[in-house]
Symmetry: C3
Subunit: 193 residues, 3 copies
């Protein structure tokens, strides 16, 4: 009887010890649950940011390069007595569907270059203007009375989605191109904004 | 009495079983705590790297594009009998405060292009030099005795923070610009280093 | 005796309560273990993507800029009666070992510009062609009978690893360069593909 009583007391103590440990474990478990939740929230945030960076890298793949004459063709364009859009028929590179029409697919800063070639002529220069939504930006223009002239210009512009960039031949200018590809127009996205 | 003794033994066994399970759970809990810590450390590292990538993307937004004459103005610049800095007064684009003064805001590789236009003249060429901290880098130069000349050059340079890039008009050259914007200067950051 | 029996019953209940809590805790623990595994798997995925983005940033550091004459030298190159590769001896910038030979180190979209300078001559133009694996891409060409001519062109191309880009002097053209660095060739990677 005394033995049973003492054993009973021991068990009571052991039960109390275990209860305390259980309670402590439950608390720690609760703390872990909260930590896990925090880590998952952080993982969500990081994954979103990484995906945004990755997609940005893809979206930034916008570039084109074209020359005036279609393959195998050559000849003069102009002179015209008004400013006339130039259509570049040989497309060397067109990534992100940037060329034709030259509409900005995303908001960002773009770089453009254009090289205009003309046979020398007393009356006709070789010239073209880069335009943004029809507005005159920069001109490439040279006039030689004989032989062969080459003009160039380049510009970097912040474009909104849908802004249209094209080259307009300068009035009374004459532009030549051949399969050698003198007269060219290139552009690419520098960065998103 | 015998019943109580047997029940006591059963409870002792059950207590031992629970104690073992508690100990096992405590061990597993400890293992989880360590795993959680590792995951948090990794999350810290990843977040730091993602933030660095994101900031790099922002810092890389450096680009300018300018032409020589302020809006509505036109005329000759030069000739001067010494090399003279060219100031481009019409700023088409200026992102990351890259232009005026042309001081590199971050260490990196930059691309520059410049297009120089001049009316033909027997004695005066059209020419300008891109300089880095006053040092001659590349020149754009053309000389036509009549009509209209266009010269261009471009360069890619690794710049330290504070390096200064500007264009210097070539001595005894004459540069023309108008609201058509022939004479232009553009630059942008390619990548950080 | 009755006391012992009642205490025994209380312990039995307490044991059952603790067992239930232990079982619940084990279940929760198991759930945490699974959550932790998911978080670790996500951390692995994110780290791999971030490392890929970081490496992509490094790999994209490809740019060169060169001029024709080695330091201190000047003179004419050509005319030659066949197309002849131009070797640019002054290397202003060469990052990612992009120049000499001009072999694409990674698959991607590259931008190139070239500026060709020539003294005027009744019979000799100034011209050079950018070639890709020997194929004619775009030409920079100008012909002035006197004084000084400057031609330029630029192109953006998707290159495979190992594609070779070089400039070929146009036949019967004459190209001049000096320590002023008129005749230059620059290129850089825009983005990987």
């Amino acid at each position: 009887m005394e033995t049973l009583r003492r054993e009973g007391e021991a068990k009571t103590k052991e039960l109390e010890v275990q209860k305390k440990e259980l309670d402590k474990l439950k608390e720690q478990h609760q703390a872990h649950a909260e930590e896990l939740l925090r880590v998952q929230t952080r993982a969500n945030g990081t994954e979103t940011k990484v995906e945004a960076l990755r997609r940005e890298g893809e979206v930034k793949q916008v570039a084109f390069s074209a020359s005036l004459m279609s393959s195998g063709n050559h000849g003069e364009t102009g002179p015209f007595n008004t400013h006339t859009p130039l259509v570049f028929r040989y497309v060397a590179t067109n990534i992100g569907n940037a060329y034709n029409p030259n509409t900005a697919p995303v908001r960002g800063v773009y770089h453009f270059e254009f090289y205009i070639y003309g046979n020398g002529h007393a009356s006709y220069s070789a010239g073209a203007v880069l335009t943004k939504n029809g507005e005159h930006i920069f001109i490439a223009y040279e006039h030689q009375p004989s032989h062969a002239a080459n003009a160039a210009n380049g510009v970097t512009l912040l474009l909104e989605v849908g802004d249209v960039i094209f080259l307009r031949q300068w009035q009374n200018s004459r532009i030549y191109d051949s399969r050698n590809r003198h007269t060219t127009f290139s552009g690419h996205l520098l960065f998103l904004m």
